[in-house]
């Protein structure tokens, strides 16, 4: 009896040891896997990325990646709809030249639906909150947010006179003096207007109509919107908050309105299902969304989703980005027609 109990105990401790060993092996295995991935990636020698992330921001990360692994990064930068177009066309013609795609969530979801991406869950995605991860494992977590806010020209607008809320833009003194990308043409702005529902509930369309009635200056996209505020042609404008840093570091007189909540557009990374450099692509995604990658991206003014990392913009840590609900292409078609009536009617 006693003997058997000892035996059982011995067996038990052996069992425990086994579990421990297995745990150790498991704990080590990502590192082991990573090493084989690094070797395979090095053999491929380069990685080709298509994306809409600013070239400067990508260069900062690519430089470190190349130094670390000796793998060259070829980056093709274009507006998000052009990235969508080229990726889609190359995928459909069966000759994809890209390995990695990095752009806004709307086009990324569209490409995902078109089966452009292969499955890859980077070990680094564990560092991101659960709600920004892709349940299907086809996209990276939402690694950054394009926070959309109100920017104003600090030379032309005194601090006390800047709008304090979206509703302030309805004040007649702003009529025709603020700028917004045309929501019936610019996809992200269309999504933004549709997502005003987050703040105004079912009255969002009424509010959108009131905004439109103030006759804002309409431009093609977020960069010209910021440019108009910079040049003084508009006093304020709806655009990315990150331009406060990007243009500000060159001395531009820009600040943003401290809205309690701001709508934001998610961004993902995806790896082509037929990527010519599959391993280099995986390694790049690992590095891109790693803490080191995200730190560098935050330094470029981006709002990354890794906890505790903020762009060098005043009060950035106080901003509460609210991820926007994306629109499908059919929904966008429908709403863009509606926004055309509101914003552009003659």
């Amino acid at each position: 009896m006693h003997k058997s109990r000892t035996a059982r105990g011995a067996w038990g401790s052996l069992f425990l040891l086994g579990i421990l060993l297995a745990a150790v092996v498991l704990a080590w295995s990502p590192q082991v896997g990573a090493q084989s991935l690094v070797d395979a990636a090095k053999k491929e020698g380069k990685v080709v990325i298509y994306g809409s992330l600013e070239s400067e921001s990508m260069d900062a990360i690519a430089k470190i990646f190349t130094k670390k692994y000796g793998i060259n990064v070829e980056y093709w930068r274009a507006a998000s709809n052009k990235v969508l177009d080229r990726v889609l066309t190359e995928a459909r013609s069966g000759r994809p030249l890209y390995d990695v795609v990095v752009t806004n969530r709307g086009p990324m979801l569209f490409l995902k639906k078109e089966n452009v991406f292969g499955k890859y869950v980077s070990p680094e995605s564990a560092n991101f909150p659960e709600d920004v991860r892709d349940p299907d494992g086809l996209l990276s977590p939402i690694y950054r947010m394009g926070v959309v806010g109100i920017l104003y020209n600090t030379k032309l607008v005194k601090p006390g006179e800047a709008p304090k809320s979206l509703d302030d833009l309805l004040n007649p003194k702003w009529r025709g003096k603020w700028v917004i990308p045309d929501p019936s043409r610019h996809f992200t702005t269309g999504v933004w207007v549709r997502n005003l529902e987050e703040f105004y509930g079912k009255d969002w369309l009424t509010f959108a109509k009131k905004l439109a009635d103030t006759k804002p200056i309409l431009v093609e996209s977020f960069i010209p919107a910021a440019q108009k505020v910079l040049s003084g042609e508009a006093l304020a404008g709806v655009t990315y908050v990150k331009y406060v840093y990007i243009f500000g570091k060159e001395g531009a007189p820009l600040d943003y309105v401290r809205l309690p909540k701001m709508l934001a557009d998610g961004h993902n990374v995806g790896i082509g299902a037929m990527a010519p450099h599959m391993n280099a692509a995986k390694l790049f995604e690992d590095f891109f969304i790693s803490k080191e990658g995200m730190e560098n991206l935050a330094k470029q003014g981006e709002f990354v989703t890794t906890k505790g990392l903020y762009p060098p913009i005043k009060d950035a840590e106080k901003i509460k980005p609210v991820a926007m609900e994306e629109l499908s292409d059919a929904d966008y078609k429908k709403w863009s027609a509606e926004f055309q009536k509101l914003f552009v009617s003659k």
Partner: protein, 575 residues
């Protein structure tokens, strides 16, 4: 022993034909021309008749046409396109008629200066004229509007370029030089004896104009009008700058919207509208050809060595010069001045006396230091040099075969060059995208698709330039070379090319200036790594970077002026 291959009997064996360099060259040129012009046409049709996405292969169907022509917006588009093209061509004709009449027929002072109108399009890209006029007449920032507002104490801007009349006005200014060339040539070649007879019979100056001059000029006016109508219909530069923001939909903006601005892009619908535009263009170009052949058939050009009678306008001659000067100011002076102004202003504003102190050269520094601008200039230079060389080589061979030889099927070659001449750039671009997406060569999404597009679309310009020299070379020279044992290639290299040189160089330079700032094809075919100057100018405009835009525009125009002066020297030698 075969020496003169062109005169080989038709019964010659196929084997000897195969070895014959001349026959091989003809066949080679024919294949290249056919591939350049027919392949994108076929693929444009394919794109419009399939429901498969760009890059996929699929079944044929009429679904795109049903989609396009059951959309009520298509009929608004058709109507607006025709109204725009008609308005622009009529306005351009009025300007051209007045200018041609003043420069050719009257004693108005300084009339030689107004002849410079003809070279404006070689120097100043249409997209820059459209941008300059937008900066002058935009309701929010237009300089003319600002001045009118301050003079008349208005609260609203009186003029709005973002309208159908605004669009017609600018396109009319851009197209006027083309009509001016046709009409002034016809005026110069007119037989003065017909007018003399009318005068002898007691007609007044006005009666002569109405009863004799105008009817004689009618074919030239019709030809100029038709050509400008079709050019307006095909143009994308002005509509991109004015019609897109104004929400006026014409054929070319619709193609742009489906292929480049839709989410996601719809290349099937783009191809469908492209086919429609091509069909309309072909009809009107055919009409134009009929009118020009009538110009020649009309017995107005007689080869008599005197110019038509110059009309003494008396004191009215100053009014005539003033009017012509006003047109020249609208066509050249104001746009150039505007461009120069924005290039030296630190930020865009209506200039005051203090502006002089603000003037800066920083935008010129920017275009020389900015990576993107630097790369775009490099791309455009590469395209201009390679494109013009390839196109002129092809043009020289083609025009030699069609003009100098009597080989069977040379008419076919001529026909093949007709298609690109009528091909609207936007439609050709869509056809090329469909054509090269599946070809496993690095052409799609590289700079080489731009090169192919440029050579295809502008080959006729090179042909025109080289044909005028080649007709002057006497056949004896070739025969002498052959008699001395020179083969086809030797004759071409040692005799013909050197004699054709002035025409070749003039054509080369004209093509190079066009390629330096080509816009309509490039916008559809470029990728960020192969971005040339034309699309870059457009994006600088969209991003509101008027300073760098002005500086780059001035730089491109100055380079063009130099090239055009050189080209004119050479063409004068040839002519």
């Amino acid at each position: 022993m075969k020496t003169d291959s062109a005169e080989l009997p038709r019964a010659a064996s196929i084997v000897s034909c195969w070895r014959d360099p001349f026959a091989l060259t003809v066949a080679g040129v024919a294949v290249v021309l056919a591939f350049l012009s027919l392949y994108p046409t076929a693929m444009l049709f394919y794109g419009s008749f399939t429901t498969a996405h760009l890059g996929e292969t699929g079944k044929l169907s009429l679904a795109n046409y049903v989609r396009a022509y059951t959309d009520p917006a298509t009929f608004t588009l058709l109507f607006d396109s025709f109204v725009f093209a008609l308005g622009a061509s009529v306005f351009s004709l009025l300007l051209a008629l007045f200018l041609a009449w003043v420069t050719v027929r009257t004693n108005a002072p300084f009339r030689r200066i107004f002849e410079l109108t003809a070279i404006v399009p070689n120097i100043f890209p249409p997209i820059l004229i459209a941008i300059s006029w937008t900066l002058l007449l935009s309701p929010s920032v237009g300089m003319i509007n600002a001045i009118l507002k301050s003079i008349f104490h208005l609260t609203e801007s009186p003029l709005n370029i973002y309208s159908l009349p605004g669009l017609m006005f600018v396109e009319g200014l851009i197209l006027a030089p083309l009509a001016f060339l046709i009409i002034s040539a016809a005026l110069m070649g007119m037989d003065p004896s017909l007018e003399e007879s009318a005068r002898m019979l007691g007609s007044s100056q006005f009666q002569i104009m109405r009863r004799v001059t105008f009817p004689l000029m009618r074919p030239a006016i019709l030809a100029g009008g038709t050509l400008n109508f079709v050019r307006a219909l095909e143009s994308f530069d002005t509509p991109a700058i004015i019609a897109l923001p104004a929400r006026i939909e014409v054929f070319t903006t619709k193609i742009y919207r489906e292929a480049l601005a839709a989410y996601p892009p719809d290349y099937n619908l783009a191809a469908t509208y492209g086919v429609s535009l091509l069909a309309v263009a072909l009809v009107f170009v055919a009409l134009y050809r009929r009118f020009t052949s009538r110009v020649e058939a009309f017995a107005t050009v007689t080869g008599k060595g005197f110019r038509p009678h110059t009309i003494d306008l008396g004191p009215w001659k100053f009014v005539a010069s003033g009017g012509a000067l006003a047109i020249l100011i609208m066509m050249v002076v104001l746009p150039v001045a505007m461009l120069f102004l924005i290039s030296i202003l630190p930020y865009y504003h209506v200039p005051t006396l203090e502006t002089i102190k603000l003037a800066t050269l920083k935008h010129y520094a920017y275009i020389f230091h900015n990576q993107r601008v630097y790369k775009a200039i490099g791309n455009s230079l590469l395209l201009a040099v390679c494109g013009a060389t390839v196109a002129m080589f092809l043009a020289a061979l083609t025009s030699y075969i069609t003009v100098k030889t009597k080989i069977f099927g040379r008419g076919l070659l001529e026909g093949l060059t007709f298609l690109p001449w009528a091909f609207p750039s936007t439609a050709l671009a869509i056809g090329l995208l469909w054509g090269y997406v599946k070809i496993p060569l690095p052409i799609y999404a590289t700079i080489w698709i731009l090169l192919i597009a440029y050579v295809t679309r502008f080959l006729p310009y090179g042909l025109r330039s080289v044909s005028s020299t080649i007709v002057q070379i006497h056949r004896d020279l070739e025969d002498a070379s052959k008699a001395c044992g020179g083969g086809f290639w030797t004759t071409l290299r040692r005799i013909l090319f050197p004699l054709m040189r002035p025409g070749l160089i003039a054509g080369w330079i004209i093509l190079a200036t066009i390629f330096m700032r080509e816009f309509s094809l490039s916008l559809f075919l470029y990728t960020p790594s192969s971005e040339p100057v034309g699309p870059l100018l457009y994006f600088l405009w969209l991003d509101g970077l008027t300073g760098p835009l002005g500086a780059l525009g001035i730089l491109v125009s100055v380079v063009s002026v130099v090239l055009v002066i050189v080209a004119r020297r050479y063409s004068r030698i040839s002519g």
